[in-house]
Amino acid sequence: MDIPSSLAIVALAALIHASFQLSVSVLTLLSGHAIGARRSQAKVFRLAWGFILGVGVMTLLLLSFISLVLLHVFGNSGVPLIVWAIACGLVLGIGIAVWLFYYRKEKGTKLWIPRSFADHLSRRSKATKHSVEAFSLGMTSVIAELIFIIPSMIISALVLLQLPSMWQLIGIAVYVVISLVGLLVVSTLVGGGHSLSKIQKWREENKGFLQFAAGSALVVLGFFVYVHKIIAEVSGAI
């Protein structure tokens, strides 16, 4: 795979990551509690940025960790095609699961995550008063949505391993920045004085589309990597 194709796959995987809504929901709750508690606009801004930084750092650590594990297991000899095939299968499977299960079929934007996780994040978003707490809440929210983002991260890690060292770092940076797009948009809107109810209404009205887009993008990603890597190499060998 050449460098532009690899970076394009990483960018698509990061966009899929950004389309998942758990962190956006937690940021919406965090901002709502902070505004409702009459905290200053500067304080709300600091909390939001603490949260986004936490999400970014945890995403960076997870992607680096997965890449490191793959590097240790397979070394420089290259990742076997069977591993690529398993990763593509995982991406396709989670993509179909997202189509079917991502949002709960009730009013609001409740997600298919364990209720204990959701309750914990809800309680913590209400109790968060300092930027450091917001930072750790951001890190926790990435862990809570791991089941949805793990396929994008594995595919990105596999692709990044094939690049020269310098491009690996650039690829990780590209992934982290793009994966934060949703949070950056919400924090900009809140900082600009937009009503949280309008943001939440938009999310609820478009949740079907967001679910379909995330699931479809995962299916497309899995199919594309399967064809681009496995079919191409197998047919080349023949």
């Binding site: 709750l29 509690h33 409702g36 609001g108 949280l196």
Partner: protein, 98 residues
């Protein structure tokens, strides 16, 4: 409030357990103010809306010795809709965000 005492709110908990507590107007006032502020309503206006809604809910609670927290939220939302529909939406759907 119903004659002879304050209304009890039945709160639902995990695993089907229930507990009750007395209606707290301050708590309701605070949560309505929070919903209004989240909709960019100025502080003073948010306070006056919350005061009116709390009074209307207290009036509704007369002759109702026991209500559930869901009943209370629905009723407050109903009254809040006439004052500020966006805040009512946020107040009603607060628990279904995540």
């Amino acid at each position: 409030m119903h004659e002879g005492g304050t209304s009890h709110i039945i709160k639902r908990h995990d695993h089907g357990h229930h507990r009750s507590e007395q209606f707290d107007p301050d708590k309701m006032h605070k949560s309505i103010v929070a919903a209004c502020l989240s909709c960019a309503v100025p502080h003073g206006h948010a306070d006056s809306i919350a005061k009116r809604i709390t009074e209307e809910v207290e009036e509704w609670l007369q002759n109702r010795p026991e209500v559930t927290s869901d009943d209370l939220r629905r009723t407050a939302t109903h009254y809040l809709k006439t004052h500020h529909p966006d805040a009512a939406y946020l107040y009603e759907h607060h628990r279904s965000t995540l």
